[in-house]
């Protein structure tokens, strides 16, 4: 096993041991913190498909995160108010069922990624960043000025949505759901990375003209990557909203996009467990330093600076060394 595999295994173990200990020591807040980290990690695994595999610097992933959040908020708020979401031409009711909410969240955020991708992938580099940012801001201000679903104040849900057979209000059970999703996303990432699609996407980042010369369209590869990426981040958004029982436009803000990107960069771009390490580190730092000073992000900034300047592989790169041999 390589050092990176050991590190990945250790991280995975920590995701089981830490909440397990918290359960034993009766520290539900720690479980909530871990849930937060796992959901952020899931969102960042989504971004890592676009950013790490595809080299697409998207500063608009909060769009997908927020759409996932609002999918949960809108469906659940209709269900708790007993009003239909839509009455014409056919009736659509709200729902408090997590699986349905997930499905809607993934579908909606993937569709958004498709539309954004079709328009933004015509450009590259700094223009791509700007267009994704512009879509993010559009969605943000749209959410703020849409009074039906809370506008600036956001939407609150009284009771967490349900999953058959589980009591999602018990922190450890909800944590379990989130962890399973994270593991599925990581498996998907690992599979994609080794698939012809992932390899071609990787190659398209390096030499697009050569990829065309073997008969593949780099833009289509990138579009597919963005759609998968958006879907995963959207799912994370739905879970995040369920964790807080609250969704607000701040989930759509560009700061949120930046944070998701910070998770990936701190943890290690294009590393399987980079997003997990990054999100875990972020939540830990937020918790430890947030109590010391409300300006704790200064330390985060310093760390980010150090990672970008000295350790390009992020946390995973620092511990496990450069990617691959040779």
């Amino acid at each position: 096993m390589s050092r990176e595999s050991w590190l990945n295994a250790a991280l995975l173990l920590a995701l089981v041991v830490v909440p397990g200990w918290a359960l034993w020591a009766d520290e539900p807040f720690t479980i909530t913190l871990a849930t937060r980290a796992v959901i952020f990690a899931l969102a960042a695994v989504g971004l890592n498909i676009a950013l790490g595999m595809g080299g697409l610097v998207s500063l608009g992933h909060a769009v997908f995160f927020g759409i996932g959040g609002y999918a949960m908020g809108i469906l659940a708020s209709h269900a708790q108010n007993y009003t239909a979401l839509m009455e014409w031409p056919f009736v659509i009711e709200g729902t408090k069922s997590m699986p349905v909410i997930w499905l809607v969240a993934v579908a909606a955020s993937s569709c958004a990624a498709l539309v954004i991708g079709l328009l933004s992938l015509r450009t590259s580099g700094v223009y791509f960043i700007m267009i994704t940012l512009a879509f993010g801001q559009m969605m943000y201000f749209f959410a703020i000025s849409w009074p039906a679903y809370g506008g600036e104040d956001g939407l609150s849900i009284y009771v967490r949505n349900g999953f058959p057979g589980l009591n999602t209000l018990v922190p450890i059970q909800f944590y379990g759901i989130c962890l399973v999703w994270l593991c599925i996303a990581l498996l998907l990432y690992a599979r994609l990375m080794r698939s012809p699609f992932g390899l071609a996407l990787n190659a398209a980042r390096q030499v697009p003209a050569r990829v065309r010369a073997v008969g593949l369209d780099p833009r289509r590869l990138q579009l597919v990557a963005l759609v998968i990426s958006g879907g995963i981040t959207g799912l994370a958004g739905a879970l995040f909203a369920d964790l807080n029982r609250f969704v607000s436009p701040s989930m759509l803000s560009w700061q949120m996009s930046g944070e998701i990107m910070v998770f990936v960069i701190i943890g290690g771009v294009a590393r399987l467990f980079g997003p997990v390490a990054g999100a875990g580190f972020y939540v830990l730092l937020e918790h430890l330093l947030g109590g010391v000073s409300e300006f704790w992000q200064i330390f985060l900034g310093l760390f980010l600076l150090a990672v970008v300047l000295f350790g390009k592989g992020g946390l995973v790169g620092m511990i496990a060394g450069r990617r691959r041999d040779g």
Binding site: N202, V211, A213, V214, L216
Partner: protein, 228 residues
């Protein structure tokens, strides 16, 4: 009927015209050598065929008009390019380079490794860490993985050691003998081209000035156009 047919093809890089009228015919299974001194338009012609450079004139591949296709569609029709300067996917391993390009057909990773045993030995190595000759073999292998009907080799032996050159020429000969794949070969070595190709076309200042059977390529023509 020819597989690839170029008629009066012209092309420019911005304001400067590079091709002034290239005619080229390749029949299925035929190996054609494209010759000419440096800067006479050989690579430019290849770029036009692969749709990496806009061209005017008639470009038909297997009944399809190439002139409106994006380059990846041209490749999908069955044009496999081994580019000048190799250009492997440096961060991918040897086998990943092959997998990324793979399309169903006769050629798969096992057949490529049988053709170039050295690639099999270096399967897990990153392309960037290979020697020049191995990278060239990988570039050929990658083009074969797309299962092309026309393989274009642009300076496939440039800058390589004599033993490696021999290996590559042997592989080209094997390809021709076994698969009957059509080929367009650009190279500096007339001797090797004579052995490998059936026909030849000579470019001079962006025009095709001579074409015919390899056997008819006389010393006089070589002297005039190739500076031999």
């Amino acid at each position: 009927m020819s597989l690839l047919s170029l008629h009066r093809v012209t092309a420019s890089y911005g304001a400067s015209q590079a091709l002034f009228g290239v005619d080229l015919e390749i029949a299925p299974g035929q190996a054609v050598a494209m010759m000419g001194r440096n800067g006479m338009g050989k690579t430019t012609t290849v770029h036009c065929i692969c749709r990496m450079l806009p061209a005017q004139g008639t470009l038909v591949f297997d009944g399809h008009d190439l002139s409106r296709l994006p380059s990846h569609k041209a490749a999908r029709l069955g044009i496999g390019l081994v580019p000048e300067g190799r250009r492997c996917f440096r961060d991918l391993t040897v086998s990943e380079n092959l997998i990324a390009a793979a399309r169903p057909g006769h050629w798969d990773a096992a057949r490529v490794e049988a053709l170039f045993p050295r690639l099999g030995e270096r399967r897990r190595q990153r392309a960037a860490s290979l020697s020049g000759g191995e990278q060239q073999m990988l570039a050929i292998g990658r083009a074969l993985m797309t299962n092309p009907r026309l393989l274009i080799l642009d300076e496939a032996t440039e800058g390589l050691a004599p033993t490696v050159r021999r290996e590559i020429w042997a592989a080209i000969a094997a390809l021709k003998a076994e698969s009957g794949m059509a080929m367009l070969v650009i190279d500096k070595s007339l001797k090797e081209l004579r052995g490998a190709c059936d026909r030849a076309v000579i470019l001079e200042r962006g025009r095709s000035v001579w074409s015919g059977a390899m056997a008819d390529l006389s010393g006089e023509i070589g002297e005039t156009y190739l500076g031999l």
